[in-house]
């Protein structure tokens, strides 16, 4: 028997210590989450979506509980890219976190400018382009309704990034469109697709919002399965209501190379660390089996 090495995962050319990532917008600035467990044990920390200029966020209530889900319209509050690079990124890197910066823009020009500024920042592992904000129009973001919109944003980012910084495209778990959208963004240069974000929904007062949490998990899982079936070479990160290690296992079994933990962190800030630790045990067992 040989001793199992770390269960590394290759994603978009990066070597990660495991397949568990945080989902954008569910890990705070990183500091809050780090209180419950070291960030360097996670595959990567995905930031909340960062825009070119600071955004205060939307009106209250921003998040409402619904059976098995959360309906949310935070308006993506964030300090803007410059402030993020000056204050939040250095701290994350110092903690040893692998940082994937989620970005959101109101135009292709803004996506390009975000890519330029991120490209100059040392330490960014990858960029995740948020192409699936469920209230994009209402919040003034670049509206991604058609696959070619998504491809446009990915190309705009790609063009202005130095080589070696991969782009992940985060897509809506819309089972009718996800394969076509995935194919288009991969053709446009995305290194991987993140399948699963909030589904378009409404807050009780009618404002546009997104629905996340266990309620969307079966839909996301179906989307991962569809993309895997149609695009066998695509690298897929599964997301959407993954709350337990068994949930994560089913996404990995469906063909995802990694998973993102979002809403579950809001319910239990230790969930991602726990799922990562339990999957590491699986991986160690697998290695043992292979090598014995």
């Amino acid at each position: 028997m040989t001793v199992a090495g770390p269960p590394n995962v290759e994603l978009a050319g990066l070597t990660l210590v495991g397949p568990v990532l945080t989902a954008a917008g569910c890990g705070g600035t990183g500091r809050e989450l780090a209180a419950y467990g070291p960030l360097d044990r996670l595959g990567a920390f995905v930031t909340r979506s960062i825009s070119l200029n600071a955004r205060p966020g939307g009106a209250l209530p921003r998040i409402v509980e619904t059976p098995s889900g959360l309906v949310h319209a935070t308006g993506l509050p964030n300090p803007g890219i410059d402030q993020f690079l000056a204050t939040e990124l250095p701290w994350l890197l110092q903690e040893g976190a692998r940082v994937i910066v989620s970005i959101v823009g109101s135009s292709l020009g803004e996506y390009a400018e975000l890519a330029r500024r991120l490209g100059r920042a040392p330490g960014v592992s990858a960029i995740e382009v948020n192409l699936s904000s469920p209230d994009a129009m209402g919040s003034g973001f670049f509206d991604v309704r058609e696959p070619f919109h998504a491809a446009g944003a990915v190309s705009a980012v790609q063009r202005d990034l130095p080589r070696g910084v991969p782009v992940l495209a985060k897509l809506r778990p819309d089972v009718l469109r996800v394969v076509e959208t995935a194919r288009t963004v991969l053709d446009a240069g995305a290194a991987a697709v993140v399948v699963g974000n909030a589904l378009p929904a409404a807050l009780p007062d009618g404002r546009p919002a997104g629905l996340s949490g266990p309620a969307v998990r079966p839909l996301s899982l179906r989307c991962v399965t569809e993309v895997r079936g149609a695009l066998p070479d695509a690298q897929i990160v599964g997301a959407g209501g993954i709350s337990t290690t068994d949930d994560a296992r089913s996404f990995l079994a469906a063909g995802a190379v990694a998973v993102q933990i979002g809403t579950a962190l809001l319910h239990d800030p230790t969930s991602a660390a726990r799922i990562a630790a339990e999957l590491a045990v699986d991986a160690a067992h697998d290695q043992e089996r292979i090598s014995s």
């Binding site: 500091r31 209180a35 209530p61 509980e65 098995s68 889900g69 935070t74 266990p214 809001l266 319910h267």
Partner: protein
């Protein structure tokens, strides 16, 4: 004004997420007083911090409760006590929980009350169950030689925390009820200015509804006292992760900002909150 006469104690320990156990439940007036074993949390407690509890299997949002007391209970070491007002699905679930039940507890969360550097006169104002964190606060202030007065307010007598205990904690206690069933008839706003004057208050601590806290902050400003207000807002994660709990404040640089009620608060300097814009 010069530098603040109140300071945040240094070296706060990170919160914990633990499996807790309900050790005792007691009904007092309109409330349920729950004693929980929550390993590690009592030692980290500072007045003004709270715990987040998970309720039921399918409710994703956490429910927040002030830590009312930290005290030893046979066999369990230190325990925490919370006061639950059953108002909705989660709080009713907690109120019906049987002794011995386990539940997930995260805490202590949030920024606690800042304490005065000097032994000054302090007025502590709490409404209904939200007076809970003022009792341990009174104890810490008295240990520092501060003169402590309390105002406990509520809709009626059943919605007041123990006035007897308040009398043990404070030099003077003013009781205010909306229906006049005990004490003064009225609201916090009706009595706060008088109490601050009478007690020559240097620091005012308030916890309760937004209109009352607004009145407390305004009266403090008028009187020339410092105010520390603890705000309740609907929370989702309660841990600073989701950015769902915005409170409009004025930053140290004077610029308007949105702070997180759970992580940047729940205690804010009263003169830093843009009260007219806070969701009620």
């Amino acid at each position: 004004m010069t530098t603040a006469p109140v300071v945040q104690a240094a070296g706060r320990l990170a919160p914990l997420h633990v499996r807790g156990e309900l050790l005792a439940a007691r009904r007092v007036g309109a409330y349920h007083h729950l004693t929980l074993a929550a390993p590690g949390i009592p030692a980290r407690f500072r007045p003004g911090t709270f715990v987040a509890l998970s309720v039921g299997e399918t409710h994703l949002a956490r429910r927040a409760f002030w830590i009312h007391q930290v005290k030893p209970m046979g066999g369990y070491g230190a325990t925490i006590q919370i006061v639950v007002a059953p108002v909705g699905v989660g709080t009713r679930w907690l109120a019906d929980l049987g002794v011995g039940a386990t539940l997930e507890v995260t805490g202590p969360l949030g920024r606690p009350f800042a304490l005065p550097k000097e032994p000054v006169s302090c007025v502590l104002i709490g409404e209904e169950y939200a007076a809970a964190p003022l009792f341990p606060l009174a104890e810490r202030l008295r240990e520092r030689g501060c003169r402590v007065s309390m105002v406990v307010a509520g809709r009626d007598e059943a919605h007041l925390l123990s006035t007897l205990e308040a009398k043990r904690s404070a030099r003077s206690v003013t009781v205010v009820t909306r229906d006049g069933s005990i004490g003064h008839k009225g609201e916090v706003a009706d009595v706060v200015a008088d109490v601050l004057r009478r007690e020559e208050a240097a620091v005012v601590y308030g916890v309760g509804t937004v209109p009352s806290l607004h009145a407390v902050a305004a009266a403090a400003e008028e009187h020339g006292a410092w105010s520390q207000t603890a705000i309740e807002q609907p929370l989702t994660c309660a841990t600073g992760l989701c950015h769902g709990c915005a409170v409009p404040v004025v930053g140290e640089d004077g610029a308007p900002r949105l702070a997180r009620a759970c992580a940047d608060g729940p205690v804010f300097r009263g003169d830093r909150v843009r009260w007219n814009e806070v969701a009620t």
